[in-house]
């Protein structure tokens, strides 16, 4: 097996889900997981295993960020489809708690905007994916994209502004009004 992201993703993906399942069984209602904590826990657990197919921690984190984005987008899509299909929605206590927790990001809108950003500037999109979905710090992100922290900060600022604008434009008139 090679060490390309595609072949490693299922491994990371499963580990993330296994950790989440553990939280559910321990039944801590209303508990939310943060990407940073989750991804680091997954790394610690996988690093403890004998065969470690990852070049290094940054390599792992980059794959984890990509996995996280995919899982959450898939989940958001399924939810949206369930709403549209009129299937009875399971609104759990957790979900109601979460929605009262201030501004949340529409994952599907973000994913779509991020894909468009990637067409303009692949590095900026990657930085957003690493920081938002993987919870990486500026320094970790810089290492992952092979750049300096100062450059990452600048790229991050512009990407964030561009995405904010793209998502706001889409949600305001529901059309493709992004720049």
């Amino acid at each position: 097996m090679g060490s390309d992201p595609e072949s490693l993703m299922p491994l990371v993906y499963d580990e993330l889900r296994r950790i989440a399942a553990g939280y559910i069984r321990r039944e801590r209602p209303g508990q939310t997981l943060q990407a940073t904590a989750l991804v680091n826990e997954a790394f610690v657990r996988l690093a403890a295993e004998k065969a470690r197919p990852f070049a290094n921690r940054t390599h792992f984190l980059a794959i984890a960020a990509l996995s996280m984005r995919q899982i959450l987008v898939q989940r958001a899509r399924a939810r949206k489809a369930a709403k549209r299909g009129g299937a009875p929605q399971r609104v759990t206590l957790d979900e109601r708690l979460l929605s009262a927790e201030g501004p949340t990001v529409d994952i599907l809108a973000l994913d779509e905007a991020l894909t468009r950003l990637a067409a303009l500037d692949e590095e900026q999109a990657r930085i957003v994916e690493l920081r938002y979905f993987g919870g990486l710090t500026v320094e970790e992100t810089a290492e992952a994209v092979g750049s300096s922290p100062a450059t990452v900060k600048r790229q991050w600022a512009m990407a964030r502004a561009w995405l904010k604008r793209a998502i706001d434009a889409t949600s305001e008139d529901g059309l493709d009004a992004a720049p």
């Binding site: 097996m1 072949s7 299922p10 499963d14 993330l16 889900r17 296994r18 950790i19 989440a20 399942a21 939280y23 559910i24 069984r25 508990q31 939310t32 997981l33 943060q34 990407a35 940073t36 065969a51 996280m68 899982i71 959450l72 898939q74 989940r75 399924a78 939810r79 489809a81 369930a82 399971r90 759990t92 957790d94 979900e95 979460l98 501004p103 990001v105 994952i107 973000l110 303009l120 500037d121 957003v128 920081r131 938002y132 979905f133 993987g134 919870g135 600048r154 600022a157 512009m158 964030r160 502004a161 561009w162 995405l163 904010k164 604008r165 706001d168 720049p179």
Partner: protein, 473 residues
């Protein structure tokens, strides 16, 4: 937006951020003078930046269930003696979960069979029987079935949890190196032998059902159970296709036949797919399955009687293949250069045979009577058969190399017989012509002897050069 525009926008945006906040917009207008659009774009970005607040600043948060549930509520719950961890995958037939058996503390793959109504007591019994039969298969290349569980009225099959990737994902990356492809096929054949010996036919063998474990071993999953499901599908959703048509043997598709040879057929399809990276019936290929190897070709014969009659026979062929050579997928690699002399030999012999019909016609007149006719007819018949077959072989070698071994196997007996007849008839004709036409007699006898020695000495040499390994069999 074009690349250079984006780069300019980036420069402007970064430059503006370096200015004190209250002069940024003025600075921007100054810099972007003459390019209205770019100025507006940069200003809008700057405003978005100023009003973005905490947008995306904190990494995403989620509920544990966001990771475990896609749209099936079982993940993260306890079901009988199983802690369901997460969904592994799903097909039209059922959902498979990764679960932990809390009694034994081991991880299992738990497959939820489609809901069966109480009225379907017979079907339920059938599923039980199938699962019980599958559970008797014990082989390292077979995912072990542990139990059939009935929990809250639903049927689940617990089997060995395998960490790895499906063969499908390897095939998607392109053709698999032939030695490895044949070795995987051999492992699949071993799994099939174990199953067939236990009276279980897989019936739905395909690259999705073959898993390469993280340790590199081959495991065939879903034995027997796939069939149980397809019965169920048929009952619950009439009109739906049963099984996976692309991997089903013709007699299975048409008549629903399910003897062990349908698995042999599917093995051939999987082997071809591994060698070529494509399904043998994929668009753009000829309608008849063209094999990448003789073995796959034999497996995929339309008439089950023309296939290997058992997985054991297929395995024997695969093992021979693995032992004697590193097979080259001729389909892809083209003819190896060493076959040139063999092809040349075939073409020259065909030409000489055809030409020799003419002097024999003259000899017939010289000899006269029944004997003359007999010699001529023998030479003509032998030449027609030999020329036809040799040209057929030559053509196959040039254009359908994958089928050459098989074509040779079929034709060589006739070629040898016609060669022998040709040589004998020529020599006899030459002797009968005797002294009235010495030149003709010598020609006939000489070519006759030449033909005999060519097929005794030259042909084996060119054949050895072209089919070294193949002829050691």
């Amino acid at each position: 937006m074009k690349r250079e525009q984006w780069e300019r926008l980036k420069t402007l945006f970064n430059g503006a951020l370096d200015q004190p906040p209250d002069t940024r917009h003025e600075w921007l207008m100054e810099q972007a003078r003459g390019d209205e659009m770019l100025a507006r774009e940069a200003a809008a970005l700057l405003r978005a930046h100023e009003t973005a607040g905490g947008f995306l600043e904190d990494p995403v948060t989620m509920l544990p269930s966001d990771l475990t549930e896609i749209d099936e509520p079982l993940s993260g719950t306890r079901l009988g003696a199983y802690d369901i961890e997460y969904e592994i995958g799903r097909g039209g037939m059922g959902i498979v979960y990764c679960a932990r058996d809390v009694r034994l503390g081991r991880r299992v793959a738990l497959k939820a069979l489609p809901a069966v109504h109480d009225a379907d007591a017979a079907l339920r019994e059938r599923l039980r029987r199938e699962a019980r039969a599958a559970a008797t298969i014990s082989h390292p290349a077979v995912a072990t079935v542990y139990a059939l569980e009935e929990i809250e009225g639903r049927l689940f099959i617990a089997s060995e949890f395998i960490e790895g990737h499906p063969l499908r994902s390897e095939i998607e990356r392109g053709p698999i190196e032939p030695a490895r492809a044949h070795s995987i096929a051999a492992d699949i054949a071993r799994a099939l032998i174990a199953a067939h010996d236990a009276g279980v036919v897989h019936r739905d063998l395909k690259p999705e059902n073959v898993v390469i474990t993280t340790a590199g071993a081959v495991k065939v999953v879903d034995f027997g159970i796939a069939h149980a499901e397809s019965i169920n599908t048929r009952l619950t959703r009439p009109g739906d296709a049963v099984g996976t048509p692309a991997y089903m043997a013709p007699e299975q598709l048409i008549a629903g036949a399910t003897d062990a040879r349908v698995d042999v057929y599917a093995l051939g399809v999987v082997l071809t797919e591994m060698l070529t990276g494509r399904h043998p019936l994929a668009p753009g290929r000829r309608a008849t399955p063209v094999s990448a190897s003789e073995i796959a070709w034999r497996c995929m014969q339309t008439d089950p009687n023309d296939r290997y009659q058992s997985a054991r026979d297929a395995l024997a062929a695969l093992e021979r293949e693995l032992q004697t050579r590193r097979p080259v997928p001729l389909d892809i690699a083209g003819p190896p250069p060493s076959r040139w002399w063999w092809e040349f030999h075939q073409a020259v012999v065909a030409l000489v045979y055809a030409v020799m019909v003419w002097p024999t016609w003259i000899a017939r007149g010289v000899i006269g009577g029944q004997e003359g006719n007999a010699v001529f007819v023998a030479v003509l018949a032998a030449a027609v058969v030999a020329v036809t077959l040799r040209l057929h072989l030559w053509f196959t070698s040039r254009f359908y190399p994958a089928e050459l071994a098989w074509a040779r196997g079929r034709a060589m007996g006739w070629v040898l017989a016609s060669d022998a007849l040709f040589a004998t008839a020529l020599v006899v004709g030459g002797v009968l012509v005797d002294d009235t036409q010495p030149g003709l007699a010598v020609l006939e006898i000489a070519v006759g002897i030449a033909a005999a020695s060519a097929f005794a000495l030259v042909e084996p040499a060119t054949t050895r050069a072209a089919f070294r390994a193949a002829d050691r069999r």
